[in-house]
C-alpha cells in the first residue's frame, strides 16, 4: 500500500470539483437525450406507420362507398398507447420474467380495448374478390354504378401468374447464378479477370434503361405479351447481381474442405455438388428469397410487356383495381392491397438478415 510522495511532473492545479452537480447534470443530459431521440424517431416514423395502419383498418372495416376513417383514429387510440406501454414494460422490467409478465398484461388490456372500440366494426366483406370472380360488377352494382371500364380476371389467376413468374425466375436465377459464381470464384481459366470486371459493371448497370430495346426485341421474336418472355427478361436482369452476391458466398468457403474432397477422390464437379454447395446454403437462400420478392413485386416490366388480362400479375391486378374502383370502394382496394402486401412482408422478414449483404455486396470495409 505504497502511496507515492513523488511530486507530479505536470503541475496539476488541484481542481475544485463538485461531483454532485456533475452527476445531476449528467442525469439531466441523459434523460434529455433519450427524450429528444425518441420524440424525433416517433415523429418521423408516424407518417409511415399511419398510412399502412390505415390500409389495414380500412380493409377490415370499411363499408361500401365510404372512406372510413373513424375506425382508423379509434384503433390508433388503442395501438399508440399499447406500443408505448409495451416499451415501458420492456424498459423498466428488471428481469426477463418481469418483462414478459408486463408485456402480457399490456397486451391483454389492449386486446380488450380493441375488441370494445373497434371490434364491432370489423368484417371481412371487403375480401369479396377472393371468392367472387366478377367482384367488380358486384361492387359497382352495390353503389348503383353499372358500367365498368375493366374486365377483371379471377384474382387467383393473377396470383398464379405472379407465383409462376416469381417461382420460375427464382429457380433459374439460383441455378444459373450458383453455377456461374462457383466457376468465377473457384476455377482458374483464361479471361477470368476480364469476366469478373465486366460482372462488376453489369451488376451495377441500370437495366431500366434497356426497356425500349427490350420491348422491341420481345416483339420481334414474338414473346411480347407472354409470361415466358417476361420471365426470361427478369431472369437475365437479376442474374449479374445474383452471381456477384453468390461469388461472395463461394469466396468465403474455406479452400481446405474442397482440397480435402479432391484428395478424397472427388472430381471438381463432385466436390462442387457435395461439399461446396451445402456450404453456401445461406447464400442460395438469400438470393432465392430476394429474387422471389422482386418477381412478386415487379411492376414496370410486366406493365410494359404484358397486355392481355389473362396475363395479369398481382401488381397489375392491384393497379387496375385501384384505377377502376378507387374513389368508389376503398374497402376492396385496401383488401386487395393487404392480400398483395402480406407475402412481400413475410418474405422480407424471413430474409432480413441478408438485407445488408444484398445492399452492398462486396464493398470494401
Amino acid at each position: 500500500m505504497a502511496v507515492k510522495a513523488t511530486p507530479a511532473v505536470f503541475s496539476a492545479p488541484e481542481p475544485v470539483v463538485d461531483w454532485d452537480v456533475l452527476a445531476a447534470r449528467a442525469r439531466g443530459l441523459r434523460r434529455a437525450k433519450a427524450v429528444v431521440l425518441y420524440a424525433f424517431l416517433i415523429a418521423v416514423s408516424l407518417p409511415i406507420i399511419l398510412p399502412y395502419f390505415w390500409l389495414v383498418t380500412i380493409a377490415f372495416s370499411a363499408k361500401t362507398g365510404v372512406a372510413e376513417t373513424a375506425v382508423l383514429w379509434r384503433s390508433m387510440a388503442v395501438v399508440v398507447p399499447t406500443v408505448i406501454a409495451l416499451w415501458l414494460a420492456a424498459a423498466f422490467a428488471q428481469s426477463r420474467r418481469q418483462m414478459w409478465i408486463g408485456m402480457g398484461a399490456v397486451a391483454a388490456v389492449a386486446a380488450f380495448a380493441f375488441a370494445l372500440l373497434v371490434g364491432p366494426d370489423l368484417h371481412i366483406g371487403n375480401f369479396i374478390f377472393l371468392w367472387e370472380p366478377d367482384f367488380a360488377s358486384v361492387v359497382r352494382s352495390r353503389i348503383g354504378e353499372v358500367k365498368g371500364a375493366v374486365q377483371f380476371p379471377n384474382v387467383w389467376h393473377a396470383f398464379g401468374n405472379s407465383i409462376l413468374i416469381a417461382g420460375t425466375q427464382t429457380a433459374i436465377v439460383v441455378t444459373v447464378a450458383s453455377l456461374a459464381a462457383y466457376s468465377l470464384s473457384r476455377f482458374q481459366f483464361p479471361g477470368r479477370s476480364a469476366m469478373l470486371r465486366s460482372l462488376l459493371v453489369l451488376h451495377a448497370f441500370p437495366v431500366l434503361t434497356l426497356i425500349v430495346p427490350m420491348f422491341l426485341m420481345l416483339y420481334w421474336i414474338g414473346l411480347l405479351d407472354t409470361l415466358f418472355g417476361v420471365i426470361l427478361v427478369l431472369v437475365a436482369f437479376e442474374l449479374p447481381f445474383a452471381i456477384f452476391i453468390m461469388k461472395g458466398f463461394f469466396d468465403a468457403v474455406p479452400w481446405d474442405i474442397e482440397m480435402s474432397a479432391l484428395t478424397d477422390g472427388a472430381s471438381r464437379r463432385q466436390a462442387f455438388l457435395s461439399v461446396v454447395l451445402p456450404q453456401v446454403r445461406n447464400g442460395i437462400l438469400a438470393i432465392a428469397v430476394f429474387t422471389f420478392i422482386r418477381g412478386w413485386e415487379e411492376y414496370i416490366f410486366v406493365f410494359t410487356f404484358l397486355i392481355r388480362n389473362t396475363n395479369w400479375t398481382m401488381s397489375l391486378y392491384m393497379y387496375w383495381v385501384r384505377d377502376d374502383v378507387m374513389g368508389v370502394d376503398y374497402g376492396v382496394v385496401s383488401a386487395v392491397g393487404v392480400f398483395y402486401l402480406v407475402p412481400s412482408l413475410i418474405l422480407y422478414l424471413a430474409a432480413q438478415r441478408y438485407l445488408m449483404q444484398m445492399s452492398i455486396g462486396g464493398v470494401k470495409g
Binding site: 500500500m1 505504497a2 502511496v3 507515492k4 510522495a5 513523488t6 511530486p7 507530479a8 511532473v9 505536470f10 496539476a12 481542481p15 470539483v17 461531483w19 454532485d20 456533475l22 452527476a23 447534470r25 449528467a26 442525469r27 443530459l29 441523459r30 428481469s95 426477463r96
Partner: protein
C-alpha cells in the same frame, strides 16, 4: 489525484450479473492491478471507473463523492485500451491534442502540453504520422500520451501490453511503472497476465467470476494465497495440487503419508514447483519428461500421488528421463487448503514423507 472506492457495487447486463457485490478501496497515488482470467469482470470494473458503464447498484466514489452517474468526460480520467483506440483519421499530434480540445485549453498551451506528453513517452518525432503508420509499441506510447496529456486524476490501463510482442512487453512494463512513479497518478491496471500484475502493481486485486478473491501485495498472493484459485492462478509453472484426507496428524494420499499440523478433514496440499527439490528423502517417483526453460529445468515426475512438476535452477539437466527420484521440500513452503471451501488454512503445513 484521487482516492477511489467501490461500495457494494453491482453490475448487470440484462439478466446477467457480471459483478455481484464489489468492495474495494484504492488509495491516492497507488498502482493497483485487477488480475483474473478473461470474463471475470475486471474490464467491467475498469469501464465503470471510466464512466463508460454505469453501475447497476451500489456506490462508486471518487474522493468520498458518489460519481455513479457522472459522465466520462467530467471524471478527468485517462484510459489506455487494449486496442489502443487511436483515432485512425487523425495524426498523432491530433490524437494527443484531442482531450485538450474539450478542455478549452488555449492553443499554445495545448500544443506545449502535447509536446511534453509526447516527450514523456518518447514519440515526439512521430507527431505528424497517422496511427496506421506506427508500430504496435509506438501506438501504445501514443495512447499513453493521449491518456496523460490532460493530467488525469486517475489512469486506467486495460490490458495495455497484451498486443505487444514479448520483448517489447518487457520494456513497456518497466517504462509504465517508472512513469507512474514519476507522475504519482493513481493507476488501475487490468490484466490477465500474473507477471504483468506482480511486476508493476503495488497491490493486486485477484478476481474470479465477478468477485474479489484476494487483495494483497504480490508477495501476499504468492506466499499466502487465500484460496486454491489464487494459488493456481499465480505462479508459473503452476502449483502442484494434491488432494487428500488429513487424519490423526497425517495426510494420506495413495499410500504416501504427509505429516501435517493444523489441519483435519479433506484438504488440498499446494506445493510450488520451485519449492520442491530432489534429495535423499521425500516421496518417490520417476522422471517422465524434461522441459528445459533456459535458466531453469522443469522436470515432470510421475509419482504415486500423481504428476508432480519440479523446477530446478541451472541450464543443463542433472537428471535423466526414467531416473528414479525422491522429492522433498521445507514445511514452511507448503500450503494447505480446505477442499470444501477452497480456502487457505493459515498456519497449517505438511512435511515431506520420510
Amino acid at each position: 489525484m484521487a482516492k477511489i472506492e467501490f461500495r457494494n457495487v453491482v453490475k448487470r447486463f440484462g439478466d446477467v450479473e457480471v459483478i455481484p457485490d464489489m468492495n474495494l478501496v484504492i488509495e491516492d497515488g497507488e498502482f493497483v492491478a485487477l488480475l483474473g482470467p478473461s470474463g471475470c469482470g475486471k474490464s467491467t470494473s475498469l469501464f465503470m471507473l471510466a464512466g463508460i458503464y454505469v453501475p447497476s447498484g451500489g456506490e462508486l466514489l471518487f474522493d468520498g463523492h458518489v460519481v455513479n452517474e457522472v459522465e466520462a468526460r467530467d471524471r478527468n480520467v485517462g484510459i489506455v485500451f487494449q486496442s489502443y483506440a487511436l483515432y485512425p483519421h487523425m495524426s498523432v499530434r491530433d490524437n494527443i491534442l484531442f482531450p485538450l480540445r474539450f478542455k478549452k485549453t488555449p492553443r499554445d498551451e495545448a500544443l506545449g502540453r502535447v509536446k511534453g506528453a509526447a516527450d514523456l513517452v518518447r514519440v515526439a518525432e512521430l507527431l505528424e504520422r497517422k496511427p496506421s503508420e506506427l508500430s504496435g509499441g509506438q501506438q501504445q506510447r501514443v495512447a499513453l500520451a493521449r491518456a496523460l496529456v490532460k493530467e488525469p486524476q486517475l489512469l486506467l490501463l486495460d490490458e495495455p501490453l497484451s498486443n505487444l510482442d514479448a520483448t517489447l512487453r518487457l520494456s513497456m512494463r518497466t517504462e509504465i511503472k517508472s512513469l507512474q512513479e514519476k507522475l504519482g497518478v493513481t493507476t488501475v491496471l487490468v490484466t490477465h497476465d500474473q507477471i504483468e500484475a506482480t511486476t508493476m502493481a503495488d497491490r493486486i486485486i485477484c478476481m474470479r467470476a465477478g468477485r474479489i478473491e484476494q487483495i494483497g501485495t504480490p508477495d501476499d498472493l504468492y506466499l499466502r494465497p487465500a484460496s486454491l484459485f489464487v494459488a493456481s492462478f499465480i505462479g508459473s509453472p503452476p502449483i502442484n495440487l494434491i488432494a487428500g484426507e488429513a487424519q490423526g496428524g497425517t495426510v494420506a494420499v495413495n499410500g504416501a503419508k504427509f505429516p501435517v499440523e493444523g489441519a483435519s478433514g479433506a484438504v488440498t496440499v499446494g506445493l510450488r514447483p520451485e519449492h520442491l527439490r530432489f534429495g535423499d528423502s521425500g516421496f518417490t517417483g520417476h522422471i517422465v519428461q524434461i522441459e528445459p526453460m533456459g535458466r531453469e529445468i522443469l522436470y515432470v515426475v510421475e509419482t504415486g500421488i500423481g504428476i508432480i512438476r519440479v523446477l530446478e535452477q541451472g541450464s543443463s539437466a542433472t537428471h535423466a528421463t526414467g531416473e528414479k527420484v525422491k522429492i522433498g521440500f521445507s514445511p514452511e513452503n507448503s500450503l494447505v487448503f480446505e477442499t470444501a471451501h477452497q480456502k487457505l488454512l493459515p498456519g497449517a503445513h505438511v512435511h515431506a514423507p520420510a
